[in-house]
């Protein structure tokens, strides 16, 4: 800065206090429009980001639930296997005879109900030969 400039800056008596800057309506409108657009764009970006993060979160949740479902199904299979193991005839007989002291019924103790649908009768020739 030269010496003249400095002098000018100090000495010049600028009385601009009563001057009021006129509000530029067009500029204000432009500013508002810009703010609205920026705000809208920000919202869109935020919504998009939220959507993406929510999707990610749901992905994790879905994976967790699928894993849980698979685990439950597997537990179900294990339980079914256990039931079938406990139903083993050898085990049932052992409990029946050794623990409960049951015995197999004799012929006199069993009544056989005739089946409703009899099997096909043998051919006449066989019956005749017998």
């Amino acid at each position: 800065m030269s010496a003249i400039d400095f002098e000018y800056a100090i000495k010049k008596d600028v009385r601009n206090n009563p001057i009021v800057r006129e509000i530029d309506q067009a500029r204000q409108r432009q500013l508002l429009e810009t703010a609205v657009i920026v705000g809208f764009l920000s919202l869109v970006i935020l919504f998009s980001a939220w959507q993406r993060f929510a999707l990610l979160g749901h992905g994790y949740e879905m994976q967790r639930m699928q894993r849980e479902r698979a685990e439950q199904e597997e537990i179900n299979r294990h339980l079914r296997l256990e039931i079938e193991t406990l139903r083993s005839p050898a085990r049932v007989e052992h409990i029946a005879t050794k623990q409960l002291h049951l015995v197999a019924p004799t012929r006199d103790q069993a009544i056989i109900l005739e089946r409703v649908t009899p099997s096909a009768p043998p051919e006449k020739s066989i019956v005749a030969a017998r």
């Binding site: 994976q63 294990h78 296997l81 050898a90 066989i126």
Partner: protein, 695 residues
Amino acid sequence: MADEHGGRFRFPWSSSAQRILKREPASGPGDWREVLRSRLFVCAGLFVLWTVSIEARLVYLQVIEHADLMARANRQQLRTVKLPAKRGEIVDRKGRVLAYSVDADTIVADPTEVEDPRIVATRVCAALDHCTSQQRQVMAERLASDQHFAYLARQVSPEEARKVKELDLPGVGLYKESRRYYPKKELAAHVLGYVGVDNVGLAGLESTFDARIRGREGKMLLQTDARRHAMSSREERLPTAGDGLELTIDEYLQFIADRELRNGVAENGASGGTAIILQPYTGEILALANWPAFNPNAFNASDVVARRNRAVQDLYEPGSTFKIVTASAAVEERLIRTVDQIDCSPGYITFGSRVIRDTHEYGVLPFIDVIAKSSNVGAIKVGMRVGPDRLSQYISRFGFGQTLASDFRGENAGMVYSADRLDPSALASVSMGYQVGVTPLQMATAVAAIANGGEVVEPHVVRAFIRGGHREEVPRNVVRRAIAPETAATVTEIMEAVVERGTAKSFAQIDGYTVAGKTGTASKVVNNHYSKSDYNASFVGFVPSRKPAIVIVVVIDSPHAGSYYGAVVSAPVFKRIAEATLRHLGIGPTLNAPPPVIVARHDGSPEDMAARPIVALSSAKAVASAPAGVMPDLRGLSARDAIRALMQLGLMPRIDGDGVVVEQSPRAGDALARGDSCVLKLGRRPPPAAGGIEQ
């Protein structure tokens, strides 16, 4: 701007740029604008440079290096996970599970992440139930390798997996694999077979139908984050579960066959045995038992001999049971009648230097008794009448010398001589069941042909395939007709004589049922000679003989605890199996059968069961107190007690409803005739106390 500089175009910041480049200071009152402009110029330049460099980098990454980077990203973020297909389950004829698959944990490691293989192997081994020092050594060797993957222990129990997980060893993890379980353990083990650790069937039905049971594994694409946590997944191909098998085996009958065979082998000090229960009309195998048996859940721990399915893989000389075939050929060809006399004296027959003897000298016997008493001399004379050509033809017709059951991989076809090799001595041997090798299943099939009227029906153990809930039934397959129905009836009569008054008289008779059967005792070949101490004792028969429901064959190998005769050793096993089977199948007695119990369908409405005065059940004293020939008062008795009372009186009960007897016809006190029927009306509540009913 162009005017100020002599018509030449200049950018507004051109002068500033020049001044900056010349390092000249700004001068004049408006120079600050120049300064600002020049700085802006610098910033803009930097910004453009930055943008261009970023764009260049983007182009480089997204265009030039696109393929490589995509591949790298996929490697890092996407994992292809195999979705193992579950093997189809195997169930018995009533839907009870015999083979089932569940996931099991396999212990795996990344050896490059393991610091001290020996310590890790020791700690993992300690967490396992049965880990030998040899297994620990193998683990340490695998962990010392420079591979990225190694199996430490496959398909361990949940408890073992939990212990290993708690160790939290770096580089050691768990991996799910499908494992086959057989919840009934030894039950039908030889039929089911077993599966290896790679889920491939190695024996039995698991091997025969492996392609159908195994299914097809699926593929899933997994997207993971930096921590390898799954973010999303996409199933590229769904796993296809394998087909289920519904067997003809009845779990309870299989258990009975296993138990009685095991007892029979133990009682007779034998080295092994086989028992088969077959339905003669359908060819369905209800039970197939072998001893020694093995546990398919731990098949590696069993002996190879125990894993052999003797019923279809081992040959034996059937001995006298084969006389049924000789007799069938002779009767079918009308060479002999059951009453024709055959001279069995002097109790032996010679072929050159070879002498074949009977156990007793029978003299002259009718043909029916030749078989019933199992005379070798008589059977040979009948075989001579039949001749080698015709006998060979009938042997083939009955299915000997050929595989019959496609369900059993590795089935032995048997060994039979062709007609041109049957010299008189060989023909004599074959006529009484020597010099011919058969499997127990072939013998059961041949006898089933006699039982069903002459048709050889393919024995099978798979009843239906289950795919996606749809049941595809395996049809009955008649291979051929072996003999005419009349011949089958005659041979049945002969086989009945074996049990009624022949060799099996005291051993195979079942109270209330007609039984047809044949005993067999054949010396085993040891070191190319017939042994004097080792025999195959067998019995084959069907029951009830006039309306056959089951064919049973029992073969006991090398009994040493006393007698070695088929009648003494195998027939009692047959009897015990048959009694239990008849009871289980609900087949009523055929000899002096009690009057049938006829139960009406009860479609009573709930109103019928409206509350009535509750009266204590009466006892059977009322029945006992009734005079002979007079209908007792059965009201208040349970259906079971009432039926028992009526059967004692020789009356045929007809039942209508549920609960206890509330009405009866004839009424109490009416005169009775044996064989009358009595209609009992049952209700949920007994009637109010009346005469004859105790409260």
